[in-house]
């Protein structure tokens, strides 16, 4: 057979809640009413934080800030699947992830306020610091998973990143490593279709991002990233597979960055208001509300109550953030190394 087909592949897509809030019952993850309401609250919390952070930035009380508007479901839905004990590698636009994990909210304000002390994760929570250098944290995720394997521990590893990150060499090297060693990593890409001003079509000619996993010998799946339950289900399955030795999974959450890239950006320079408006229709929070409403778990009063609660929690975090005394100049020497050199000690004294 001189010309033959060597191999065929396909890429799946998962959706559970449609834009009207109707769910595919067969695919519904097994979540209680309380859990569903908790998820709703986490979406609200994330959105409330986001709005407040934008306001604080405008007032000069924090620095440049990357809004997560529109991506809350991808973050909260996936993070809610974590069982605890995982090692987590965020990029820089995952506030919803941090909240779902119980990361102290005031520390995020602190970090975006230009104080690195905000990045010290609470003991017991293995989340790496925000990684600004796009995609470069992915090898850490692979290495950590390899370490867990070597130690014979069933730790799973989760890494978050954007569509832009898929173009980096480190994405490739990390995915390849994960494939070769069948590592327990769940790679979660929030494909928000933009990397600053670069649209997905200029980032890659690949039809989907999910299919990139084929190059590394493991599965990729695309989920509707504005469908919290689809994200959740896919993450949970990928985590189970990881823990049971099934190797890595790549989950592409197709979503949309509804805001500017950061407060330093003006997205109207490079995309149309129509495009943004179309995606506002597909707001993941709205969709989840419709879904909850259909199940009798949501009404306007309840929403108002929860919004108030989220507001209160964020207010409190802002108060705590603003009460933190500024770092002392000497603190920039702390943690450079376990022990300072004689020269560094001398520099600190000046």
């Amino acid at each position: 057979m001189p010309e033959s087909t060597l191999a065929t592949f396909s890429v799946r897509r998962l959706e559970i809640i449609d834009p009207e809030g109707n769910a595919d019952e067969a695919l519904l993850p097994d979540l209680s009413g309380d859990e569903l309401r908790r998820l709703y609250y986490l979406l609200l919390l994330t959105r409330t934080f986001d709005g407040r952070a934008l306001a604080l930035q405008r007032e000069g009380r924090i620095g440049t800030y990357p809004s997560v508007l529109g991506q809350e479901a991808a973050q909260v839905g996936s993070a809610f699947a974590l069982a605890g004990g995982e090692w987590i590698f965020p990029s820089f636009r995952e506030m919803g992830l941090f909240f779902t994990l119980g990361y102290p909210i005031h520390q995020l304000f602190q970090y975006w306020g230009g104080d690195e002390r905000g990045l010290r994760a609470p003991d017991g929570l293995n989340i790496f610091p925000v990684c600004v250098s796009v995609g470069t944290h992915l090898p850490h995720a692979a290495g950590t998973a390899l370490a867990a394997r070597i130690r014979g521990e069933r730790t799973a590893v989760v890494a978050y990143f954007g569509d832009g990150a898929t173009s980096k060499g480190d994405f490739h090297e990390a995915f390849n490593l994960a494939g070769v060693f069948r590592l327990p990593v769940v790679f979660i890409c929030q494909n928000n279709q933009w990397a600053i001003s670069v649209p997905l079509s200029a980032q890659t000619a690949s039809r989907t991002l999910a299919q990139k996993a084929l190059a590394y010998g493991f599965d990729g799946i695309q989920v509707d990233g504005n469908d919290l339950l689809a994200v959740h289900r896919a993450t949970r399955e990928a985590l189970e597979k990881a823990r049971s030795g099934g190797g890595p999974t790549f989950i592409e959450c197709l979503t949309y960055r509804m805001s500017d890239h950061t407060t330093a950006d003006d997205a109207s320079r490079y995309r149309t208001p129509e495009e943004v408006a179309a995606w506002r229709e597909r707001d993941p929070l709205l969709r989840f509300e419709r879904f909850l409403a259909k199940r009798g778990l949501w009404n306007e009063d309840y929403a108002a109550e929860m919004k108030g609660k989220a507001q209160g929690e964020i207010d409190e975090a802002v108060r705590r953030f603003e009460a933190i005394p500024p770092p002392a100049p000497g603190e920039m020497y702390d943690f450079v190394s376990a022990e300072l050199s004689a020269r560094q000690r001398q520099q600190r004294e000046i």
Binding site: G63, E116, G169, D170, V198, R343
Partner: protein, 320 residues
């Protein structure tokens, strides 16, 4: 003559050079429709089109690597790395390839390219947005390193860099982007690479500073009989100008924001200690960043050499 800030001056240089020479192309992340995150390439996409103002995927190594291929083919690529902290991913392409293709091919292929990148601290940005690791690149034979210190020199040096037959790393002091305006002539003028500029004449001490530290140094030396040198090109360094000044003043202070150890200040001090020691009356002092990663906004003012520290060094060296 128009009063321009550095962003505008660089933009003007790019626009004029692209109009003059159709081999000049711009590539990088967000340099196209967006006009660059600092607006340095604003309007170029509209004027020269997508073929010559190229938004690349998010791939620093490929940006520099592609520029090597483009330059070898005969273009004059001007690549942007969005912040200096992201150039480390392209070190291999810069050092193993851009800097060596002329040598590896024994002159058959060359890399007349420019890599522009915002550099330096003090803009209240996240990690890796405020790096100043010029010394790495000054240790790479085959590549030139240029730092303008104002709008006028930015334009003249950039034009020279684009026309240079070899790769040039062009470091743009981010803090200065919009800080000062200067008269910047339209039309072409180049400032020669490898030539320092004596910004202020003086007799008692030579002070060398570049990028955003030059401004600060000029303020700090007020009232001192200091000769201030702006190297403009960090590699190859203009040793002639430096040594002539040191031989005259007998004293040398170097100011830079990069961490002290193995910063470019070391090379400058070492060269003085090697070639002008008999003229030195006192120690060669370096006022530099400490040996720590650049801290975030809340501490960065304590990281950067302050006017007080610069004056402290002057006072100390003038005691001899």
């Amino acid at each position: 003559m128009p009063q321009l800030n550095m962003v505008q001056a660089i933009n003007l240089a790019l626009r004029e050079e692209m109009a003059r020479d159709d081999r000049v192309v711009v590539l990088g992340e967000d340099v196209g429709r967006d006009g660059g995150v600092f607006r340095v390439t604003e309007g170029l996409f509209e004027e020269f089109g997508a073929a010559r103002v190229i938004d690349t995927p998010l791939s620093e190594s490929a940006i520099v690597g592609a520029a090597v291929g483009m330059a070898a083919y005969g273009l004059r690529p001007v690549a942007e790395i969005q912040f200096m902290g992201f150039i480390y991913a392209a070190m291999d392409q810069l050092f193993a390839h851009a800097a060596r293709i002329r040598s590896r091919s024994r002159g058959r292929f060359t890399a007349p390219l420019v890599v522009r990148t915002p550099y330096g601290a003090g803009i209240k940005a996240p990690e890796l947005h405020e790096e100043s690791t010029e010394a790495f690149f000054c240790h790479m034979p085959g590549i030139k390193v240029v730092v303008p210190s104002g709008p006028y020199s930015a334009k003249g040096l950039l034009l020279a860099a684009i026309r240079d037959p070899d790769p040039v790393l062009f470091l743009e002091p981010t803090r200065l982007y919009r800080m000062v305006k200067e008269e910047v002539p339209e039309g072409e003028y180049t400032l020669p690479l490898g030539k320092a500029r004596i910004v202020r004449a003086g007799g008692a001490v030579t002070v060398v500073a570049w990028g955003s530290m030059l401004q600060r140094t000029l303020k700090a030396v007020e009232g001192y009989d200091a000769e201030v040198i702006d190297p403009q090109t960090l590699s190859p360094f203009d040793w002639e100008t430096l040594l002539a000044s040191v031989k005259k003043t007998g004293r040398l202070v170097v100011v830079h924001e990069a961490p002290r150890t193995c910063g470019l200040g070391a090379e400058i001090a070492a060269t003085a200690a090697e070639e002008a020691i008999l003229h030195l009356r006192g120690p060669v002092l370096r006022v530099a960043g400490p040996d720590v990663p650049v801290p975030l906004a809340r501490l960065v003012d304590h990281y950067l050499p302050s006017p007080e520290r610069i004056r402290g060094a002057l006072d100390e060296v003038l005691r001899y």
